[in-house]
């Protein structure tokens, strides 16, 4: 238990970066960049979920953006149906999505590798159709809550009414998400996951309840995805099915691999590539079609050249640089 709250150098770096992001970033960002960074932070949380599942258990979920949609749908639905504050909507959306993740995971967990990935892809495809058919609630009547005309207002957190405060709020949520994962990793579930990743058979022989811990991990991924979706809903005030296509779920996973699933920096790199880079290309006036080409090429290049992801490569480089310096100093 002693090491539970021990903060590693990488952890300190993360907290320092988060502090910078919370204290300085909103102040120096224009409205455009506030909106970009808020989106990126929402997706950071979602990517953290996929990356965690992949790095800790070797399981691939190609439905994370679909789960975000589920979380966002629930948050919007609650917002218009009841007078709960944002935090309650956020928590309920995250928890419901976690349950949804379990329901999805229980039958799927017998599968491994590609088949698990494919069954989650089928779920993403199905969710895409459901979102396109029923749309997201915008204050209308009935169960689906959809009306024509402009949407009713979405209540933001009491503490974060302005765009700047909302960015801070989302970053803090994302940091909490990472801490949540890290604490899990250091406790009983983390040990079970490590064993399962090595070999399911030996995990079972060691008395680990494999199904329970795999489901648990899937639930965490759903929880983070659902929270990310609810936060995204708060950022825009409404959601559109175009955000939650199955291909985006595949893209998020690909970027998590490109960034480096084992490191928190990897998820950050992935979120930056996914949301900040296109915004930058847009500002530079690159044609939207061509930025797809650039994006795709970058993705392929990184998958080919960086086995541990870009973050892994960078950290490796940093480490050897420091070592080299240390040797010279000695």
């Amino acid at each position: 238990m002693k090491g539970l709250f021990h903060v590693t150098p990488s952890g300190w770096a993360g907290f320092a970066l988060a502090a910078f992001a919370v204290l300085v970033l909103p102040g120096i960002s224009s409205s455009y960049w506030l909106s970009v960074f808020t989106s990126a932070s929402c997706f950071l949380l979602a990517i953290a979920g996929v990356a965690f599942l992949y790095a800790r258990l070797g399981m691939v979920s190609l439905t994370q953006v679909g789960l975000m949609g589920v979380g966002g749908w629930i948050a919007l639905r609650l917002n218009y149906a009841f007078d709960f504050p944002f935090e309650v909507n956020l928590a309920l959306a995250a928890l419901s999505t976690m349950v949804f993740g379990w329901v999805l995971a229980l039958p799927a967990l017998r599968m491994r590798g590609l088949y698990l990935a494919l069954v989650t892809l089928m779920a993403a495809g199905g969710l895409e159709i459901l979102f396109a058919t029923f749309q997201f609630p915008n204050g209308g009547d009935g169960f689906w809550g959809v009306k024509t005309g402009s949407s009713d207002p979405f209540r933001r957190p009491f503490l974060a009414q302005s765009a700047e405060d909302y960015l801070r709020y989302v970053i803090i949520c994302a940091v909490l998400g990472f801490v949540f994962i890290e604490l899990h990793r250091r406790l009983q579930p983390g040990r079970a996951w490590a064993l399962i990743r090595r070999s399911e058979a030996s995990a079972m022989a060691a008395g680990v309840n494999v199904t329970l811990y795999k489901t648990w991990a899937f639930g965490i991924t759903g929880l983070l995805g659902g929270a990310a979706g609810a936060l995204l809903a708060g950022s825009l005030g409404l959601l559109d099915d175009g955000t939650f296509r199955a291909s985006e779920s595949v893209m998020i996973f690909a970027l998590a691999v490109v960034g480096g699933a084992r490191y928190w920096q990897g998820a950050l790199v992935a979120a930056i590539l996914y949301k900040v880079l296109p915004a930058l290309l847009n500002i530079w006036g690159v044609d939207a079609d061509l930025s797809y080409v650039i994006f795709g090429a970058g993705l392929l290049h990184a998958v080919i050249t960086a086995p541990d992801g870009l973050a892994g490569q960078a950290l490796q480089g940093l480490r050897s640089l420091l070592r080299g310096k240390g040797r010279r100093d000695a």
Partner: protein, 318 residues
């Protein structure tokens, strides 16, 4: 084992009959016939896409998301050539060649560099490639209403009260012939044998001295040609829009899943059933709106059915 196989076929037949009976009940038999015939046409396209995916996956271990994009690029090329007044068959040939070239480019130049990655990562990498192709195609051809028509669109026969054009018959027949042809190829030729060996155990096959590069190139080529053919047929029968053709790959994967990524006959039947069920859902007022969900639900159920009775899979490879 043999009995179990027959049981699966029987179960499939009973389920399909029950489904069509259930949804068709109360509808005019004429309309039911129309929906089934229309569903078979879409289903053959799902199946064709799925067959291309499975052939490639078996031989190379790559699940290709970029087949649709290659087909889209081919179909747009065919349209462009026809716009320039070039004799149509040249355009059709160009469609196949462009899809072939794009697929071979990936297969020869990019895929080998990813050989060390796990299957899922290899699969998502092809999505990156699909984005490159789609981006380039959308850049070259600005969005505009376009259509391709083949001479076979003009002739047709009436089946079940629906006029079926020769193009649809060709697609349907082609999907069956291609399955049969590939089965013959795998069973009777030396390269086919080598492909089967690769599908069975790659490392062992490599140790035995199977020329992996050559066999893989052939597999990429076959899947490229299939992508081109599917793209052209899709453009003619459904729509000539690059984005739609590109993402057609996702229901195609659903069809491939039905055959467990290995059995082409089941891929064909799965694709056809998906098309029919999707169309039959139109008869239900409650499920009408969500009918495109059918392939995904079916594929997920089939996957779960295959896994029944298993508890955990130990060891082994994906």
């Amino acid at each position: 084992m043999a009995l179990a196989r027959y049981k699966n076929w029987l179960l499939w037949a009973v389920l399909m009959a029950a489904f069509i009976g259930w949804f068709g009940w109360g509808g005019r038999p004429q309309m039911v016939g129309l929906f089934v015939a229309s569903g078979l046409a879409v289903g053959s396209l799902y199946a064709l896409g799925g067959i291309g995916i499975v052939v490639l996956f078996r031989a190379t271990g790559v699940l290709n998301f970029a087949g649709g994009a290659a087909g889209a690029a081919g179909a747009m090329t065919a349209w462009q050539l026809s716009e320039w007044g070039i004799w149509d068959p040249v355009g059709w040939l160009a469609c196949l060649l462009v899809a072939l070239a794009i697929t071979l480019f990936y297969g020869r130049l990019i895929a080998p560099r990813l050989a060390w990655r796990e299957t899922v990562v290899k699969a998502v990498a092809t999505l990156g490639f699909a984005l490159i192709v789609l981006g380039a195609v959308s850049f070259l051809w600005v969005d505009d209403p376009r259509s391709i028509s083949l001479p076979t669109d003009g002739v047709g026969v009436r089946i079940l009260g629906m006029r079926i054009t020769a193009t649809r018959l060709i697609v349907f027949a082609a999907s069956i012939l291609i399955v049969f042809g590939i089965w013959l190829f795998l069973a009777r030729t030396r390269v086919g044998l080598q492909m089967r060996a690769l599908a069975n155990d790659r490392d062992l096959a490599a140790l035995m001295g199977i020329p992996i590069l050559r066999v893989e190139t052939i597999a990429w080529g076959i899947s490229g040609l299939l992508a081109g053919f599917t793209g052209l047929m899709f453009a003619d029968l459904i729509r000539l829009e690059p984005t739609v053709i590109t993402f057609m790959v996702i229901p195609s994967i659903a069809a491939a899943i039905c055959g467990r990524l290995e059995n082409l006959t089941v891929v064909l039947l799965g694709g056809l059933s998906m098309g029919v069920i999707e169309n039959m859902l139109t008869m239900s007022s409650a499920l009408r709106g969500v009918r495109p969900i059918a392939p995904f639900v079916i594929a997920a159920l089939v996957l779960l059915y295959y896994q029944r009775g298993q508890r955990l899979t130990f060891g082994g490879r994906d």
